[in-house]
Amino acid sequence: MRLPSCRIGVAYDCSVQRWSNLLYQANGRWISEDGKRILPNPEAAKEALTYFRSLIEAKLVPTSSWPGKTDGGPLFKTGVAALMWAGNWELKTLVEGGTRFSFGTTFFPKEAIRAACPGGEFLIGFANSPNHEDAAKLLLWWAEPATTKSYLERLGGSLLSPMKDLPVNYGKYTEYLKPMLDDLAVTPEWVAEDLARPELNLLQNDLLEQLILYSTGRTRFEETISAINQLGSQVLGNNRPLTK
């Protein structure tokens, strides 16, 4: 079957996490280290927002992706999009689903710093759980390098190792994952901490809405920052540390 010609630049996932790549590479963060302010570095936010808006205005990112929320996978797999900006878990579908053309992976474009967007899966134990001790044992077992290695190798290329010195055999995904592992290796720890903050998770739909409004030219930068600050103040205003 003949593939259609590429008519889209980048199939870009419409999510806060994906846009956060640009924020982190501009050396910005969502929530300040003390957990009291949102977007503490507005210059970095402006850079990331402006760059992303320029991609949409130039029609490199199609509106069906952003704000249309079409999954980037089918757009890339059908050959309609030349590039896909997505998480590494998409690899499994592309490689095992039999993409009808050869493709490769590359590094994220570097700006002020190099940073990936470390997401992944979380195991959480609650402090006041009646099974607190057992939960702690499970977490410790899970954090052992041997357990992590075995789990990741069984998953294939869906998840990357959070342990820098842990050799994992990713099999047929090794070549594809190399640039991603390199990006992850130089990603500062604060990026992972910032992205894992529960407040960010609570706000993600509202933040995504603001990002969509700005990137599609519906609001101005000042309005966007003001709205995000307002959202942040609702959640961070009475911020208390979670019980450890």
């Binding site: 069906s64 309609v80 739909n205």
Partner: protein, 316 residues
Amino acid sequence: MVSPDPSTPAPDANPPSPLGPRRSSLGWLSEFQWAPYLFLIPTVGLLFVFSVLPMIYGVWMSLQNVDVVRGTSSFIGLNNYLRLFHDGQFGLSRPKYRLVHLDGGSTDRYWQYRNCRVFTGKQAGAANSTRWFYIPFVLSPVVVATSWKWLLNEDLGVIDGFLKWAGLPTIPWLSADLYARVSVVIASVWNLVGFYMLMVLAGLSQIGPELYEAARIEGAVAWQRFWHITLPMLRPTILLIVILAMVHATQAFETILLLTDGGPGSATRLVVQNMYQSAFGRLQPGYGVAQAVVLLPIILFVAWLQTRIFKQEGTI
């Protein structure tokens, strides 16, 4: 002071009751018809546990600031309700409600009527066609939304693909505010038109052909027959459909969530999406329930209006 007459016999301390011998104070218990009430207990019990109690709990929750992550809650009085006055999303969602769903309702009714005129005719295969129109209604909203999402996709969708093939400009169905609303209306109408069409069909079958015949003899043209016979005779059915469509509008959730996720931005976000987002996205169940509590009198008003109109119409 008057002294009692000794010749008059003293009144009986316990005179006989005109209703016969006096029963004990709990006697009525043994004679009460318990059976109907006992049969009702399971239904009323389930209704109480799964409807009334959650409602009461919901109202209580709307007065609390519930912290789901920490498992704590604190009483904040009417703050959640006061917050609604300053919530742009909630304020914005109300006019959109009318725009999206009343548009959908009127479009629904137009197509129901058009379809019914066709199906009450003598065209071959009319009965089979009725069945085809009803199929979308039995489909799950998830299937409806997913199908339309792919049909309306700008880059891979059939509709825009056809426009491209015909050399016409494509339409940003799901990424421009106006078109996203239109898309929601199209998907909703497609989903529901069959159900409402059957109701209109039933209404049309109740109109006697002699009325049309008499009108024809009197020289009434098609639009006059429609205006003076069909429409007045269909009035109770149309009223019922209006009310059902309004109730459906207050419950519209799955199709919009999957088709546009309330977007782009918040262009297609309605009250129920806002509730869902508050309760499960931002983890503020108290605020989400407060919106539901505010919505309740609106739905009750619609129900009251329905009863009142039907009473006036003599339908009930």
